[in-house]
């Protein structure tokens, strides 16, 4: 069967990487193209299953990553028989961990799109609209602890929750100035307390009444 020229846009659409205009064009297309819509549904399901079950699906991949770093340890150990050098190696290892491991955990700044779809980005998908009083993001699974942050120039408020939604307490609301810009961000932690994922900071403007 001939490939539809819109097919290549499916992933970018699902990850909200299309411009507003392109998105509209693409949506209008799949309302008219059953073939593309079938593929969107399939991919969308695949992505959500991957995101929800990453621990079990990719468990052997972690083993691959671990065995790689063990091999690195061995090479370094072989090169450093003397204690002084081993201190240097330790420092090098720390650097390796800092530069090689941490960037994998903390995602770089994701592209956020503010549109009629609300706000999305990062591997935590923020669902609330641009001017929320209740904040909502995509649930990453059970037993996940989220930390929600509200900033202006500095951290204004932070709160832990296991839900994927949170409301601002009144004492914070009264601190916020209408018309001023604020940012919100969500970080997800595993039950053991390791940072799993972080959304980027998303701007919103506080309006008391419409």
């Amino acid at each position: 069967m001939k490939k539809c020229r819109y097919e290549d846009l499916i992933d970018d659409y699902l990850f909200n990487r299309l411009s507003q205009e392109k998105k509209k064009e693409f949506e209008e297309h799949f309302f008219n193209c059953p073939r593309c819509f079938e593929q969107i549904k399939e991919k969308n399901e695949l992505i959500s299953v991957i995101k929800d079950n990453a621990d079990s699906i990719f468990k052997d991949m972690r083993i691959i990553e671990e065995s790689k770093s063990n091999a690195r340890d061995k090479i370094l150990g072989f090169l450093s028989p003397k204690p002084l050098i081993s201190a240097a190696v330790t420092a090098a290892l720390v650097l390796i961990i800092v530069f090689a491991v941490i960037p994998n955990i903390i995602k770089g700044p994701p592209d956020f799109v503010v549109s009629d779809d609300g706000i999305r980005g990062g591997s935590i998908t923020l669902i609330s609209e641009a001017i929320p009083s209740e904040f909502r993001w995509e649930n990453l699974g059970n037993d996940i602890e989220y930390k929600v942050f509200i900033y202006n120039d500095e951290l204004l408020w932070e709160k832990n929750t296991q839900e994927n939604t949170i409301s601002l307490p009144d004492e914070i609301k009264t601190k916020m100035v209408p018309g001023k810009s604020y940012f919100w961000q969500v970080k997800a932690f595993s039950p053991e307390g390791t940072l799993i994922s972080s959304s980027s900071k998303v701007q919103f403007t506080w309006r008391e009444n419409n």
């Binding site: 949506e27 309302f31 695949l46 079990s56 699906i57 052997d60 591997s123 909502r136 419409n210």
Partner: protein, 165 residues
């Protein structure tokens, strides 16, 4: 095309899933109102076709898309207004039937994903789990962006086969 010749039943069964997908994507599938909104859009469409307001200048798909977009924008606007008056929202009530069905499908898909070769898992991990772009995945794996697409495509094909078994 004659406005009276549309098969309304067929239109409903064809477009309802598409409208549902778009609505859920826009307002979030955890938002309990999505189903009401979809119902409204479908009813509205049928009414407009019946009354002859839809004149067939565009395709039915485009027409329904326009209605859907408008309804979503309207919902988000109204919700903002509501949110500022701090009216508590109703609790989500997920459809248990649909949930079970989806859950079973998802579990099966997850199992099949586990069975994939590391080569394919790796690409799905970077591309769909880490949300990296095609180019970034290509750089990490030292292959061409085109190859990334091909491999993702092939992984999906394999999954389809595994599920059918």
């Amino acid at each position: 095309m004659n406005k009276n010749t549309y098969d309304l039943k067929e239109i409903t069964s064809k477009y309802r899933p598409i409208v549902t997908f778009k609505v859920k994507k826009s307002i979030g599938s955890h938002t309990p109102e999505w189903e009401d909104i979809v119902n409204e859009i479908m009813l509205n469409t049928i009414e407009k076709i019946k009354s002859g307001e839809f004149k067939g200048k565009s395709s039915v798909g485009t027409y329904i898309y326009t209605i859907t977009r408008r309804r979503i924008v309207d919902y988000i606007r109204r919700k903002k207004r509501r949110a500022h008056k701090y009216i508590p929202e109703s609790d989500p009530f997920p459809d248990p039937h649909e949930q079970i069905e989806n859950k079973e499908r998802a579990e099966m898909l997850a199992k099949k994903l586990e069975q994939l070769k590391p080569k394919y898992k790796k690409i799905l991990y970077l591309y769909y789990y880490k949300d990296l772009s095609r180019k970034e995945v290509a750089q990490r794996l030292g292959i061409s962006p085109r190859k990334v697409s091909e491999r993702v495509h092939y992984a999906q094909k394999l999954l389809r086969k595994l599920i059918k078994k």
